[in-house]
């Protein structure tokens, strides 16, 4: 079963347009410093919503939410997504 971490990295890989391989990122690495743009962060958000059948409330749609893999994971967990790891 795919873990939450693996799914986030997979989404970043396909939607994040990062300058580095998402597999090599540390969980606290700054995604914007790795090439994530405001435009691609929206695509990442949409892909995560689709992947987990959730909806990000407006108050969580901030730059900080998508700043790092750990921030994304914490937000997803707040929205009820469970890690299978």
């Amino acid at each position: 079963m795919t873990t939450l971490d693996e799914t986030i990295r997979s989404v970043l890989k396909t939607q994040g347009r990062l300058a580095v391989d998402a597999e090599t990122l540390g969980e606290n690495d700054d995604l914007y410093m790795s090439g994530l743009s405001s435009h691609s962060s929206v695509n990442v958000m949409l892909a995560l919503e689709n992947e987990f059948d959730i909806e990000f409330p407006v108050e969580l749609l901030t730059k900080a939410t998508f700043q790092s893999i750990s921030n994304v994971r914490a937000t997803l967990e707040k929205l009820g997504v469970k890690d299978s790891a």
Binding site: A19, D30, Y32, M33, S34, G35, S37
Partner: protein, 413 residues
Amino acid sequence: MAVDEKEIPIDVLPRVALFQPEPGPSLFETLAASRDLCQIVWIVGWQPGEPTAEVHRRFGEVVDLSGLSFQEAVAKMESVRPDGVAVLSDAPIAMAAAVAERLNLLFHSVETARLLSDKMAQREALGAAGLPVPRFGAVRLGNTDVDVPFPAVLKPRSGAGSRDTFKVESNDEVADLLASCDPQEKFILEEWLSDSTNQRKFAADLVSVETIVRDGDVRHLMVTGRFPFALPFRETGSFMPSDLGDDDKNAVREVATSAIHALGITDGIIHTEVKMTLDGARLVEVNGRVGGSISGLMTRIGGPSMTRLVLKVALGVDLGVLPSVNASSIGFYRLLVGPIGATKVVAIEHLDEVSMIPGVEEVSMNKRPGDEINARLSAFTDNAVRVDGLVHSYEELLDVMERIDATLTLSFS
């Protein structure tokens, strides 16, 4: 049409038709700005390269203008019957004004929109109103013979972000540059305004004034400084507030006020560029929208969200008491661009170290190694790295800029 904010039921917010540009405030920032104030009707497809409907549908009502003529687009927007119309860039101002006129919404009049969308028409109007403007003339390929002394500045009549803008020294140079530009684009040549005796190390002579106009009442919120331009004329960032002294700030505010009145602006968020010259503060141009990245700078130093103010002005909502801005803080953003002639990013290194410099709060890599770059595009769309931060003195600002330059390694080919 005016709407009293207190009377808006929470579940039936008014609708503002917004031309969301790319780049511009992030979609997330716009959503945050609209919270508890209005629903955004996303206007997309209004010019090539602008956002498409697909993404915006997730965030509300979308009106897609792709493939429509100007009149068809205006008619389509009219049928949507928004409660307000707003722009965050220059390009859709004329269309928004036409819609506002048909629906009796608060926005620039169609005539004012014309003056805000065409630098040539704007200078003519300002000159006719008695404001000192540099000598200028329309030029095109095959006809560059205008009564403008050199050095001069060549720029598109409709453009933002210093795209395709050049300091030129001769008619031959103008002709060569025009030959390399889009033949459909209209250009203006205008007299170069001399620099002041500015000895500041980190600031250009150009500043901007951020203003709210309501019912013809002009209220200046801020004077913003600029970092020195990169060749040929590219922006490299801004800092807020400007380091000008009080007398100079008053002078640039007066210039902005005169220009706003001369253009017939009665409602809107305005971004006026003024240059400090040996002859004092001289108007460069008036923009009928919030300045690029100004909203982020303003909130960084504790000021109001300019994007939210744009939406409030569109609705005619009472602005209330604006939060005071902490003058002890200086917000900045810096755009790192490639040299003239470079076409590709080779390497971007030491971003981590830049992020550790005290005062630096955000570092964004906006190009990847291998990406193409073009010095003729706006630096807002074509920068390799952007650095945002907050400092507490101009000495500290200068130090941070020098440390960024000493730390970051950018290679281009």
